[in-house]
């Protein structure tokens, strides 16, 4: 039997790899904002720290614990966010995260795991924008 059996599209090798070796793991020393989000149903608990310069995200680091999907999504999104215009990040939707993960369809509780990182980054950005006005 293959290690990636057909019933487990969610647990593809790259998801497991990001879960095992998350990129951008560790909080930044002098972030512009931090944001912690948790997922009550399964105990995912992630904190993001972000630096912003001239309307673009220049650095992201995260910490915390969670399931493979939430950690892999946090890892991939943190990498992708660096260099993005804040407005582009704010316009990202749940579907973009599912596409980024490449896991096919996600339902209910698993969608909440996958999108926790996006929720944290968007929520953090929104509050930071408000605080600067």
């Amino acid at each position: 039997m293959s290690r990636r059996s057909p019933v487990d599209p969610v647990f593809r090798e790259n998801i497991i790899d990001h879960y095992r070796n998350p990129r951008r793991f560790g909080l930044l020393d002098s972030p512009d904002f931090v944001r912690r989000e948790s997922n009550f149903s399964c105990g995912d608990d992630l904190e993001f720290s972000v630096r912003v310069r001239k309307g673009a995200i220049v650095d992201v680091g995260f910490a915390g614990q969670g399931c493979a999907l939430s950690i892999a999504a946090a890892s991939m999104l943190s990498e992708r966010a660096i260099g993005m215009r804040t407005a582009d990040l704010e316009s990202m939707a749940d579907g973009d995260i599912v596409a980024m993960l490449g896991v096919g369809q996600l339902t209910g509780s698993r969608l909440r795991c996958a999108t926790l990182a996006l929720k944290a980054l968007k929520g953090g950005l929104a509050d930071w924008n408000k605080s600067r006005k």
């Binding site: 990636r4 487990d8 647990f11 497991i16 399964c42 105990g43 399931c67 493979a68």
Partner: protein, 406 residues
């Protein structure tokens, strides 16, 4: 003694008797409903659908008779008096009813004692009401095997300030069986009233309220082959008499003027509004179903299946099994985890293989914090589960190890 034949019984449960039916290993969260229970509820809706206690026509009289008949069955099942059986929405409502009715009789300095294994439906009401009434909450801990720390229990239960002791009978998170009778003796020794959360024990092992000598006992219908939305609060008649009502409305009064109201007799004093008639009738049918199988036989079957699960799962590399070791008295469930795999991922993988399990904190977040866990994956068993279900579980858990390459 009668024996349980899980394969034959499967045809009694419509959801399990279809092509490609999933392997249902989540009876501790909610059970399955046998045809006899569905028929009983259907009979009410099709043949004598009417309100209880009021109508002066045959359908209403029949509905009243069946509703009160269900109460009598529950009373017999628990070794209680029908006056002591209050129908509620479930364990959570029963426990909230008690907390809301008893907390106002407590004052600052009084103590409420519970175990660290309590479900949120016990911890949260008392914790929140403690802020309003100023009493203190003390917790009895567990040892490394997940058994209640009886030395600590004996020490804590010496205080004369204790007014309420609320105990889970069988832990839904670990499967631990709490020695209720001994603790009731200690609690009564200091004049405290004892509440038992029997959500995981009623219908799975004999529960006799006179033998336990508890003051109150709460459970849900849907975890014992009954429908959702119906449950029971047992209370010793004297205790229920002494309490003020929880909800006000129809059926719970005997006389009302614009200024004053008098309460109905037990148990109706605690059943305001039109009750869940079909639910109660269904729960009565569930008691009959359990009676036909034999509670001792159910307990033996579930114990054997649980023991097999623990044996099979223990052979898997990197598995951790929580709760009391094999061979000790245990509930019909096993909570486990794999090192390096989040319980949500493990439960998801099993779900994708057609195995229905529960993953997470099992509404016992304080216990998970104490154990330093994000959660566990839990398999729980019923009369329709056979050895091959356990074997399928062990194989699927083994394959999760491969997926994660641990």
């Amino acid at each position: 003694m009668k024996r349980i034949d899980p394969h034959r019984l499967r045809s009694e449960f419509p959801m399990l008797f279809r092509k490609n039916s999933p392997t249902y290993l989540d009876s501790a969260a909610s059970g399955q409903t046998p045809k006899a229970v569905l028929r009983a509820m259907d009979g009410y809706y099709r043949r004598y659908r009417a309100n209880v206690h009021r109508g002066m026509y045959p359908a209403s009289e029949r509905a009243t008779e069946e509703y009160e008949g269900a109460r009598k069955k529950l009373a017999g099942f628990l070794n209680a008096d029908p006056r002591e059986v209050v129908f509620t929405r479930g364990t959570t409502e029963s426990l909230n009813l008690l907390a809301y009715c008893l907390a106002p009789t407590l004052k600052p300095g009084d103590e409420v004692v519970m175990t660290v294994m309590e479900h949120h439906s016990t911890i949260v009401p008392w914790q929140q009401l403690a802020k309003r009434y100023g009493f203190e909450i003390k917790y009895i801990g567990i040892d490394g095997d997940g058994q209640l720390d009886m030395a600590s229990a004996r020490e804590i239960l010496k205080s004369k300030k204790i007014r309420i002791v609320s105990l889970i009978h069988v832990s839904n998170a670990l499967g631990t069986v709490v020695p209720i009778r001994e603790l009731v003796g200690l609690a009564h020794g200091v004049g405290a009233q004892v509440i038992v959360d029997a959500a995981q024990s009623v219908g799975h092992r004999p529960v006799d309220v006179r033998d336990l000598d508890c003051d109150f006992l709460a459970f849900s219908g849907h975890k014992m082959f009954g429908p959702t939305g119906i449950g029971v609060l047992f209370g010793k008649a004297g205790r229920l008499e002494a309490m003020s009502p929880f909800l006000y409305g129809g059926d719970m009064i005997s006389r009302v003027t614009f200024e004053e109201s008098q309460w109905n007799e037990l148990p109706w004093k605690f059943e305001a509004g039109t009750p869940n008639v079909a639910g109660a009738i269904g729960l009565g049918a569930a008691v009959d179903f359990i009676g036909e199988l034999g509670l001792e036989a159910i307990h033996r079957h579930e114990t054997e299946i649980t023991a097999r699960a623990i044996r099979r799962l223990s052979r898997i590399r990197d598995i951790v099994i929580y709760g009391p070791p094999d061979g000790t008295d245990r509930g019909n469930l096993v909570s486990f985890g794999l090192k390096g795999i989040h319980p949500h991922d493990l439960t998801d993988i099993l779900g994708r293989k057609g195995l229905c399990l529960r993953g997470g904190h099992h509404c016992a977040m304080p216990l998970m914090l104490l154990l330093g866990l994000a959660g566990t994956t839990r398999a729980s068993f019923s009369v329709f589960n056979a050895r091959e279900d356990v074997d399928a579980l062990a194989r699927a858990v083994g394959s999760a190890v491969k997926i994660f390459g641990i």
